[in-house]
C-alpha cells in the first residue's frame, strides 16, 4: 500500500517549492526580514509615543532652572537627562499660588541608589502616576522611602531595610553613609516612571545636602551662593487652558526659572527621532521591494524551467486559468509564509529592542500582541507577492504547448 496523497493545488505548489528549496527559503527570508523591520519600527514608535503620553498625562508645564526646555522635560518627567539647574523654594511657592495653577508637584533630587534616582517629592507624585503599594505604606517623615517595583525587585529590597544613597545621578562611590534611608513602602510595578525611582519627602533631600562636602570646593561655593533650600523642578497642571498662553511666558520673563511645555517638547523630540526611524523604515521598504523583485526573478526562472510541466498539464486538460492560478498560488504561498515568519520575527525584534531601551534608558516598553497592524502588513505582502507573480503567471498561461513539448 503506497502512502501517496491525492494531487491537489496545495500539493503541486508545495512540491514545486520543495523541489528548489533554496530559492524559496531565500525569498521567504528576504520578505520576513522586511516585514519584521517595518513592524518593529511601527510598533516601537507607537510604544514610545504611548509611553511618553502616559508619563506626560496631566502635566501641562514643567518649571526648572534656566536651560534647554527639552532637557527640562527629559530630566524631570522621564528622568533620562541631567537637570538644567535648581529653583529657589521661595520662587516655587510664589508660582504655586498663581490662580491659573491647579496643582504643582515639587521634585528635588541629586542622589541615586545604585543608579536609580532618589527623588524628593510629595505623595501626590505617586498618586499622579497611579502608583499602588504592594507592601508597607507611603512615607510620612524625612529619610523614609518608598521604592519603585523594578528597583525593589532588582535589589531584593524589603520593608524596614536601610539603604544608602550616592551623590550624583549616576552610580558613584561618593556615598552618603551618614544619612541612611529606611524603606517603608514598596510600589507595584505599573509600567510608569515610578518603577525605577526611589521616592522620599523633599525634606530628606534637603537634609542630606544641608552641609556641603568640605572636600568639594565647588559644592561649598554653591551652597554659599544659594543658602536657601531649592527644588529641582515643579510639575504643573493648569486650572484652565488659558494658562498655556500666559504662564510659560510669565515664568520665563519674570523669574530665574524656565518653563517647558511637555507636549511641545515631546513633539520636537519625536520629530528628531523620526529622522532615524525614517531611515530604518526606508531600509525596511527597500528590503521589501528587493524581495518582491527577487520573488519575480525566482518565479520567472521557475516558469521557464517548468515549461514542459506546464505544457504537459495543458495537454492533460488543465486550462490556461488553471496554470495561471497554479503559478499565482505559489507566489501567494511564499508571501504568506514570509509574512507569518516576519510577524513572528517582529515580535522577537520588538522584545529585543524593548529590552535594549530598558537597559540603556530604563524605559519599560511592553511588547504588543499582533493585531490589526499585522493584518494590514500581511495583506500588503500578499498583494506585493501577487504583483511579483503576475508576469510569470501570464507567461506560464501563454505557454505554447506544441512548440514546448517538441523542443525536448
Amino acid at each position: 500500500m503506497n502512502k501517496t496523497r491525492r494531487v491537489s493545488l496545495c500539493r503541486l505548489v508545495g512540491a514545486n517549492i520543495a523541489y528548489k528549496p533554496l530559492s524559496a527559503v531565500f525569498n521567504i527570508a528576504l520578505l520576513s526580514v522586511g516585514v519584521a523591520v517595518i513592524l518593529t519600527i511601527l510598533h516601537v514608535n507607537g510604544l514610545i509615543d504611548n509611553r511618553f503620553s502616559r508619563d506626560l498625562r496631566g502635566i501641562d508645564m514643567v518649571v526648572s532652572g534656566k536651560g534647554s526646555p527639552l532637557q527640562i522635560i527629559l530630566a524631570n518627567v522621564f528622568h533620562l537627562d541631567i537637570p538644567t539647574g535648581n529653583i529657589p523654594v521661595s520662587e516655587a511657592k510664589k508660582l504655586e499660588k498663581n490662580p491659573l495653577i491647579k496643582s504643582a508637584i515639587p521634585l528635588a533630587y541629586g542622589d541615586n541608589y545604585n543608579g536609580h534616582r532618589i527623588v524628593g517629592t510629595t505623595p501626590d507624585y505617586i498618586a499622579h502616576f497611579e502608583g499602588q503599594l504592594s507592601n508597607g505604606r507611603i512615607y510620612s517623615a524625612p529619610m523614609e522611602v518608598v521604592v519603585g517595583g523594578d528597583v525593589a525587585k532588582k535589589f531584593h529590597l524589603t520593608i524596614g531595610e536601610k539603604i544608602i544613597g550616592a551623590h550624583g545621578l549616576v552610580n558613584s562611590d561618593d556615598m552618603h553613609t551618614d544619612f541612611p534611608y529606611t524603606i517603608v513602602g514598596v510600589l507595584k510595578s505599573n509600567g510608569s516612571i515610578l518603577d525605577r525611582l526611589v521616592l522620599t519627602p523633599v525634606e530628606s533631600v534637603w537634609h542630606v545636602h544641608e552641609h556641603p562636602d568640605e572636600d568639594d570646593p565647588e559644592e561649598v561655593a554653591y551652597k554659599k551662593a544659594h543658602p536657601e533650600d531649592e527644588l529641582t523642578a515643579l510639575l504643573i497642571t493648569y486650572k484652565s487652558p488659558l494658562a498655556a498662553a500666559q504662564l510659560p511666558r510669565m515664568v520665563n520673563n519674570s523669574s530665574s526659572m524656565q518653563a517647558a511645555s511637555p507636549a511641545f517638547e515631546v513633539a520636537r523630540l519625536t520629530k528628531l527621532m523620526g529622522t532615524g526611524q525614517d531611515i530604518l523604515s526606508v531600509f525596511g521598504y527597500l528590503l521589501l521591494a528587493f524581495s518582491a523583485f527577487s520573488l519575480f526573478i525566482a518565479l520567472y526562472n521557475a516558469v521557464q524551467d517548468r515549461q514542459y510541466d506546464i505544457a504537459l498539464m495543458r495537454v492533460m486538460g488543465l486550462t490556461k486559468s488553471g496554470i495561471f492560478g497554479l503559478v499565482l498560488s505559489e507566489t501567494v504561498l511564499i508571501g504568506l509564509i514570509g509574512s507569518v515568519v516576519g510577524v513572528l520575527l517582529s515580535q522577537l525584534f520588538i522584545r529585543l529592542t524593548a529590552y535594549w531601551i530598558y537597559i540603556q534608558k530604563g524605559l519599560v516598553l511592553s511588547a504588543p500582541i499582533p493585531g490589526i497592524m499585522e493584518i494590514y502588513v500581511m495583506l500588503s505582502i500578499l498583494l506585493i507577492s501577487l504583483m511579483a507573480g503576475l508576469i510569470p503567471a501570464m507567461i506560464a498561461r501563454k505557454t505554447y504547448i506544441i512548440r514546448t513539448l517538441t523542443k525536448l
Binding site: 503506497n2 501517496t4 523541489y19 498539464m313 492533460m316 486538460g317 488543465l318 488553471g322
Partner: protein
C-alpha cells in the same frame, strides 16, 4: 470513432499535412507510419486538439474539434483523450503515483486511487509508486506516462513514437502494455 475529412494542417498557415478522408472505428488500433517530417506528430496534435486545422474537419466521437474554442478543447482532452509523448514527460517534483494521479487532477476528475493502483500493477510498477520521477529508469518513466494516459479511462489514446527513447527490451514491454490496455 475518428473521422477526418479534407484535412489541411501545418504551422503559420503553411500546410504540412493533407488528408482527404480517414475513418477509424471504435475499438480500432491504428498505426500511422511515415518518414521523418512527414507530419505524423502534426496529425496527432490536430487529433488531440492542440492545434486547429487550416482546412477541413476532425470529428472525434461526434465532436468536431474545429468548432470548440481553446478552453473547450482543454476540457475535451481531459475527458476523452490519453496522450503518450515521444519523449519522457514526467513532472519531476512529484512521485510516480502523483504523476499518474496528475492526469485526473488536470482533467478535473475524481482521483481514483484503486484504479491508479490497478493501472500501476498492470504496468509492472507497483513497487515504485512513492519514488520521485527522476529516480526511475527511462523504460519505467515511459510506462508511468502510459499509466497516466489511461488514468481517466479515455476513449482514445494517442501515442507519438512512445518507444523511440527506449532500449529494445523496454520498447517491447511498452508496446505490449499499450496493446493489452487497448483490448
Amino acid at each position: 470513432m475518428i473521422e477526418i475529412k479534407n484535412l489541411e494542417a501545418g504551422y503559420n498557415h503553411v500546410p504540412k499535412l493533407r488528408i482527404e478522408s480517414v475513418l477509424i472505428e471504435d475499438k480500432a488500433m491504428c498505426l500511422v507510419r511515415g518518414e521523418s517530417g512527414s507530419g505524423k506528430t502534426t496529425l496527432l496534435n490536430v487529433l488531440a486538439g492542440l492545434m486547429r486545422p487550416i482546412k477541413g474537419s476532425v470529428n472525434m466521437n461526434g465532436v468536431n474539434l474545429g468548432d470548440l474554442h481553446e478552453a473547450q478543447r482543454d476540457a475535451w482532452r481531459g475527458e476523452h483523450l490519453g496522450y503518450v509523448f515521444q519523449t519522457l514527460h514526467l513532472v519531476k517534483p512529484l512521485t510516480v503515483m502523483e504523476n499518474i494521479l496528475l492526469g485526473a487532477y488536470a482533467a478535473g476528475k475524481q482521483q481514483d486511487k484503486d484504479w491508479a493502483d490497478y493501472v500501476l500493477g498492470q504496468t509492472g510498477l507497483h513497487g515504485i509508486a512513492d519514488r520521485k520521477s527522476h529516480e526511475i529508469s527511462q523504460g519505467q518513466a515511459q510506462r508511468v506516462a502510459i499509466a497516466r494516459a489511461v488514468i481517466n479511462k479515455p476513449s482514445i489514446i494517442l501515442a507519438d513514437e512512445p518507444t523511440s527513447s527506449l532500449d529494445q527490451k523496454s520498447a517491447e514491454q511498452v508496446i505490449d502494455l499499450l496493446l493489452s490496455l487497448a483490448k
